[in-house]
């Protein structure tokens, strides 16, 4: 029987946390209006999922792949990501403040009106990922690479990061577009 994330969440009792770690795959689901704070997810593959109004505050994601997922008004504040891959994902109006990313990758992702303030990227790869009207203030960077067509550029510090992304037109705001 195919596992369904919606039903797993539905079966959680009050006070239970979402804790999954057995190489499961969830696809083509829409997850709406859930409080899933402090979830622990490892070895999960999410394909074509829509997360809308989901609160994942303080969650832990490990070896998790998000492929072609849409996040709308999702709270990932103070969440940790270890060896995670975001592929062709779109995050809109989402809160990633103080999220920590370790040994992970964003590839062909789009951040729209999202808040990444004070988030932390360590051993991280950005590949063709754009940030529009998104807050990257106070982020911390260590061992981060950005893919510039045909080569990886190593980012030395936070100010370099923003500059390089702006030079590559990967960061934009409405004001920038209007001017």
């Amino acid at each position: 029987m195919k596992n369904n994330l919606q039903s797993i969440i539905g079966n959680l009792e009050k006070g239970d946390k979402l804790e999954l770690g057995n190489n499961e795959k969830f696809s083509n689901e829409i997850l709406l209006n859930q409080s899933l704070q402090c979830s622990v997810l490892g070895g999960i593959n999410f394909v074509n999922l829509t997360f809308k109004n989901i609160d994942f505050t303080g969650s832990f994601f490990s070896k998790t792949i998000f492929e072609n997922c849409r996040f709308s008004n999702v709270i990932l504040r103070k969440s940790e990501f270890w060896s995670c891959t975001f592929l062709e994902c779109q995050m809109t109006g989402s809160n990633l403040t103080r999220a920590e990313f370790n040994s992970s990758t964003f590839k062909n992702c789009e951040f729209l009106n999202s808040n990444l303030r004070a988030s932390d990227f360590m051993d991280f790869e950005f590949r063709e990922t754009i940030f529009k009207n998104s807050n990257l203030d106070l982020i911390l960077i260590e061992d981060v690479k950005v893919w510039k067509p045909n080569e990886w550029i190593e980012i030395k510090d936070e100010s370099d990061f923003e500059k390089i992304l702006k030079d590559m037109n990967l960061i934009s705001t409405d004001e920038m577009e209007n001017s």
């Binding site: 770690g21 109004n53 103070k78 109006g93 808040n115």
Partner: protein, 374 residues
Amino acid sequence: MKLLLKKLKTYFRKHKANKIKSSGKIIVSAGLALSLRFGEPRLTSSRLSSLNYESQVVTERVILNQKQESNSCDDSHNSGKVIQTGNGIILESQQEVSDTSSNDMDEIILAQGDGILPGADGFPLNNNPRRRHPFGRPRMRGTGINVDPPQNIQGLGNIPKAPKVRSFREMYTDLNARRSNRGDQCPAPEFDMKKEYGNFIQKISKKGYEFECSQERFNELSTNPQTGSFDEKSLMEAKGGLQGEAQGMYTNIRRPSNKAVDLDFEIDSSEGYTHVDYKTPIDFQDLADKKGIDVSNFPSLETVAYNMGKKITPQKEQFCGLPDGPKSPENVLHVVNLDLIRDSNQKQNMIDSVLKGAEDKGDNTVGIYFLNYL
């Protein structure tokens, strides 16, 4: 295409009068029709405006007067219905909530600040150049290992004085107020705070600490300052924070007065600390034993702890110089709460790894305390 637009205009004209005026406004986006017709993923507002339809139009959103799927855990916004078309387009229908009849205050919670969730509801975009260190980059002090030994030992330290009582403002938490407090529509988790408080007091006295803390203060500390409501994470921080106070690490722990200073708490300390940030690592082996999850899908606790230590050094600088923020990194205390780690050998390994990470990163292990490390 033209024919379709014409049909739409006619449809809107016919239905405008009797549907828009009702409390559950029915507004049909041209986006739905066009997307369904042509399978086009997006429709920009400029294209929509060409329909010359004067009513409110929400791009890619259809607002219908219908109930949402039963999977929602929050009836207060139980109105969105999402349709996924064959080519993966997500179309959403949602009843506009215009019922403000229940303006009565159904409960009061204590909160500080405006309680607006940054990011979830359109945070003010910082268009200014980076002001990471507006008053100049702070310098890290000291080299070598220095772990402030007395404070690292449970049971030492004086019982702190009764905490100062902070002033609060009442915050209405009826349907609409709660929604605005939380940004858009993320459901707020529910907690029995009386029970949480009782359990905490019981646990802390079992550990041998005499500690006075009112339910009111417990609630305040358990309130996420960014959202104005209780949540799992802020509750965990509050329990650790209060235990730290009970152990005499600092006094007068309270949530930051300036939300922009996104550290967990403000404190008073004879050691010069003004802010504290809590780290509470998870025990994956415990999860494996209890829930049967495959622990190989998770990093080792030593790796987690080592990276944690590496990050602590720059994190001490992160909010320095902001109004009501720490003046320098030396004013920021990091407490690693090992309460969730079962095995005492594992706890020791984690302590070593945290300190190693901090040392490798900044030659500095000052301002790192450990809680529940035995």
